[in-house]
Amino acid sequence: MAAEQLAPEKYEEQHVHEVYEQIASHFSSTRYKPWPIVESFLHSLSPGSVGLDVGCGNGKYLAVNQDVFIIGSDRSSNLVKIAAKHEPHTAIVADTLALPHQTGRFDFAISIAVVHHFSTPERRREAVKAILGFLKEGGNALVYVWALEQKNSRRGWDEGHEQDVMVPWVMKSGKKNLNEDGSTEKTFQRYYHLYRSGELEDDIVGVGGKVVESGYEKDNWWAICQRRLQS
């Protein structure tokens, strides 16, 4: 657990939500290229499918397929404002652990680089459980989380490293001074839980889900999962 002194939801508010709210437009300008596995997942959907993008950020995945209908959601209203521009979809402001979606109604869901922002194992599992609960029987969810094993990345983390980390976001501004001392750089720290190999699959199975396919792509673990059918 990353925060002994603060309740996890307060900790995440400070070290995740407030940061994204402040860096929204700069963050968005750097997030436009869809990751290939997410893109092919979205293209594989049949027309008229109705699904979710949980933690949609600036909505870059809402631009991929216009023959399906996606309800995107994010905690950051500044990011949702950007996401809401993608037709024919919708974006709403909501908390991943208190989403207004009806259970069992959706053909698919994606949650890309979101679940790793929850600061306790219980809350990460609760997030996966909530996403699975919105799916119809047979519906697929694609979940992406940052990997601990990424020794070739510029961060250089690998097996054995601390999994709960603060990751800086450096915002540069050529025009206005952001700091009192007149400098034009401001650094924000975001909380991440780095997933080790197998951990995402364990979380899915641990909340009663089924892993259909999983793998590693560019410093991330991903899994396609389903609700386990009630027998």
Partner: protein
Amino acid sequence: MKLLTLNFLTCAVKACKSSSASFPLHPKDCELVSDTIAPNPQLVYNVLPRIDWNALVTTASELGFPTLPATAPTKEELENDEKMMKELHTLLLETSVSEGILVCGNCGHEYRVKEGIANFLLPNHLV
């Protein structure tokens, strides 16, 4: 927020999820806007069977739209009825709530829609 969205959303309060009174949410003092979106018949035909038609009838009537038929048209009916196709396209995809309130029929909680974006964040005592 598009009208189609309302057909899939209920109250964010956990205790309300199992109550049939929480769905659909009831629009109150809502302003609507209409955007022009390129028609996509494939999308509308295939979304149709996924729609909770009774809920859509309720939502449309609460927003003051002409009464929808009591049962959903079939895909074949829709394919042969250009007018209905256009009306559904307009209602589901081109019509958005731009300002107003969405009310849960179970707990009475009100969710605000501002500049086209609905906010479902709950106050601490409801989480």
